[in-house]
């Protein structure tokens, strides 16, 4: 009887080990996928906020032209959603009857770089938004 119990227990233990190894091998794929979805969600949300900041900057530029207030309006909008403003570039260009504001935000300012260990880094990538408003001084 003792022999039998040991035999069954050993067999079960052997199966548990196999499952554990399988889980160890497959769980990184699952974790990377879930973090990837999280990062993608962050990316689309921040893209929207960058578009909104360009819109707010362009509204100021349409009234004041090329002014430091344009950058301030852009930065205020970005900060509202927790996007840091270091390295953000704002260009204002008047052309004909309109004024165009382009906002360029490093992706690293918008969300943490979780997947850099796995070879998918957002470092060096940017989100760009361009908005044209009519001159309305």
């Amino acid at each position: 009887m003792k022999v039998a119990v040991t035999h069954v227990a050993r067999r079960l233990r052997r199966r548990n080990g196999a499952i554990t190894i399988e889980m160890i091998l497959t769980s990184p794929i699952l974790v990377i996928s879930i973090i990837g979805i999280f990062e993608m969600g962050n990316l689309v949300a921040s893209t929207n906020q960058v578009a909104l900041s360009a819109r707010n900057g362009a509204l100021v530029a349409s009234m004041l032209g090329t002014s430091s207030d344009v950058g301030a309006a852009v930065n205020d909008t970005l900060l509202q959603s927790g996007i840091t403003t270091a390295g953000v570039s704002v260009t204002t260009a008047s052309a004909g009857t309109g004024v165009t504001v382009t906002v360029n935000v490093p992706l690293q300012n918008t969300c943490p770089d979780f997947l850099t260990t796995y070879g998918f880094s957002i470092s060096g990538k940017t989100v760009i938004a361009t908005v044209t408003m009519p001159l309305n001084p």
Binding site: E22, V44, T97, M133
Partner: protein
Amino acid sequence: MKRACLTHSDTTQPLPRVASRRGFAVIWLLGSMPILLAAVAFVVSIGRLDLARTELKTAAESAALGGARVWGESTDDAAGQTAAMVRINEMITANNVLGHTPTVVTIETGAYVGGVFTSSVSVPTQTQRAYRITLSTIVIGKLGAANYTVRSQALAVYNGSRAVLTYDALNPSAS
């Protein structure tokens, strides 16, 4: 009472057949892939819809501001409207929505008096001249998600010195 335990005679027989659990985690992983893909499609679709709405609103606002400014400044009502249409089209073309020019649904001229917009008013005074512009765009669903039509409206009025964005008090959600 019979005790539920193994006896020696059990060990002489082959153990009861248990379904193999090898490949268990792999099957779960493969099974969960469609769910993960659906989650990606959902996140991307919601994000694109949100972005399309922001960009469309911006395009409508710039067109309404441009139209109201040109028409409001003009001393000639009819000539002012013609010039305003040129500015409106410039603004719509300049502001892409998800990389495409948005579709014009309506371009309405009217009078904005006491917080209410009335369309097609014959020769309103300069400080009541308003443009209400409605644009739409089709957001193509990615990874099997459905296509959606997004619509946005903006209202701008000339206040005597410049065009300002405003809303219709009787229909605030539409403008």
